[in-house]
């Protein structure tokens, strides 16, 4: 195990050199493995990788333009933000309308609810994507911890 890890180090270093700096903050999933997820009755019941979400971090991700950017399309109860889009439904009170597992599936892969959705699959299986920017190939938009943070935030909106 130790040997394998050491062997990977130079490879990781080389990879970090070819990733443009503009993507450095977006390539956050590189630090975490991709966890498989399972849909059951429109829910992902188990947290990704068994990770625990943090609602405060989740709120920051939801409002960050280069991370979740949820408010580009949804109304959220973040009064200090000037602009919200209306491509998607308002998410105020979503935590009292839907189960945690359902919210998790919405964030992970909304196309499971609506195949024609314009919502990005923040944790959609990377192998199913077409012509992803070279620097982002094989990566998910948010990593598993960030997904859980956003899920914790949305669940807290009662």
């Amino acid at each position: 195990m130790q040997k394998t890890r050491l062997f990977r180090l130079p490879l990781l270093f080389a990879a970090s050199l070819i990733i443009p700096t503009t993507y450095a903050t977006d390539a956050s999933s590189s630090g975490q493995p991709y966890y498989e997820w399972k849909v059951e009755n429109f829910e992902i019941k188990e947290p990704l990788g068994g990770l625990e979400g943090n609602a405060v971090r989740g709120k920051a991700i939801a409002g960050n333009q280069s991370r979740g950017n949820c408010l580009a399309c949804h109304l959220l109860p973040i009064p200090e933000e000037p602009f919200f889009g209306n491509l998607g439904p308002p998410l105020t009170g979503i935590g009292s309308r839907q189960s945690t597992g359902m919210i998790r599936l919405h964030v992970v892969d909304q196309s499971r609810f609506n195949p024609e959705t314009v919502m990005p699959g923040y944790y959609r299986t990377p192998a199913q994507l077409n012509r992803v920017a070279k620097a982002l190939k094989g990566k998910t938009w948010l990593n598993a911890q960030e997904i859980e943070d956003v899920v914790a935030y949305l669940t807290s909106l009662k």
Binding site: G85, L87, V118, P120, L129, V132, L136, W141
Partner: protein
């Protein structure tokens, strides 16, 4: 558990008919210029020749139009001072099918060809500032002319290829052009209003980028937003997309340089 299952059924019963209605309405949509989705302030900026920052690019193109190439001739030698001998209806019909090249020729492609063959170079890069300036100047001559691209006959397969690309999902975001620009035109994306993605204002001035761009560069901007790998400016894919997008806007008036987000 039972409640969830019921709520799912309800959810689908509610959304599926709605989706179908939206889709059928969207396919029959009339072309609407991006101008109609601008704020009144931005509309005012566009129609004011002195306030429209895209006019700087048009003016640079006008100078270049009468600048002699290697063989001493300029665009103006054939097309008249200020392009007065150019047929504006023809300008509004690009991309056109070139029987010599056996493929569609965009307005920019035609300008680059002239630059090489008629005025003897120097060759301009497809995505060079000079090529953009000339394209903007020539397209501006057809201001107010109706976009009228003929996609019958030999153009048909290129139109179909462009249409396929327009309906192809891209990048990490995994959505296609039509999903935003057909289904959701008029809705807001953060502080911006989504338009139909029409090309009648291009080459135009991108307010958010602070520079003049033409259709291929605008598509590259979209692909970057979708976290997809863009194509080269002169790629077959962009030419086919331009054929489809311009023809999709047949009937709209040319607004170059339009102000767009």
């Amino acid at each position: 558990m039972k409640i969830l299952t019921l709520s799912n059924c309800f959810f689908f019963a509610l959304t599926l008919p709605l989706t179908t209605i939206t889709l059928s309405a969207a396919h029959a949509q009339q072309p609407v210029s991006g101008y109609d989705y601008l704020t009144p302030e931005m509309q005012e900026m566009q129609i004011d020749d002195f306030g429209n920052p895209g006019m700087l690019t048009v003016d640079a193109g006008e100078i270049r139009f009468s600048t002699a190439g290697k063989n001493g001739k300029s665009c103006a030698s054939c097309h008249g001072d200020d392009g007065s001998k150019l047929d504006i209806k023809h300008i509004a019909s690009y991309p056109v099918y070139s029987t010599a090249l056996k493929k569609p020729l965009t307005l920019r492609g035609q300008i680059l060809l002239c630059q090489d063959e008629r005025i003897g170079g120097p060759s301009l890069g497809h995505s060079s500032a000079e090529a953009l300036q000339l394209e903007a100047f020539v397209r501006r001559l057809a201001l107010g002319e109706t976009v009228n691209v003929d996609v019958s006959g030999e153009m048909a397969p290129y139109y179909e290829a462009g249409k396929n690309l327009f309906h192809t999902r891209w990048g990490q975001v995994d959505i296609a052009c039509h999903q935003c620009h057909v289904y959701h035109a008029g809705r807001t994306f953060r502080g911006q209003t989504l338009s139909q993605g029409q090309s009648n204002g291009f080459p135009g001035y991108r307010y958010t980028a602070g520079k003049a761009v033409s259709t291929p560069e605008r598509i590259t901007g979209c692909l970057a937003n979708l976290r997809a790998e863009p194509y080269a400016s002169d790629s077959v894919e962009y030419i086919n997309l331009e054929v489809y997008m311009n023809a999709r806007g047949n009937g709209l008036k040319i607004e170059t340089p339009g102000i767009r987000y």
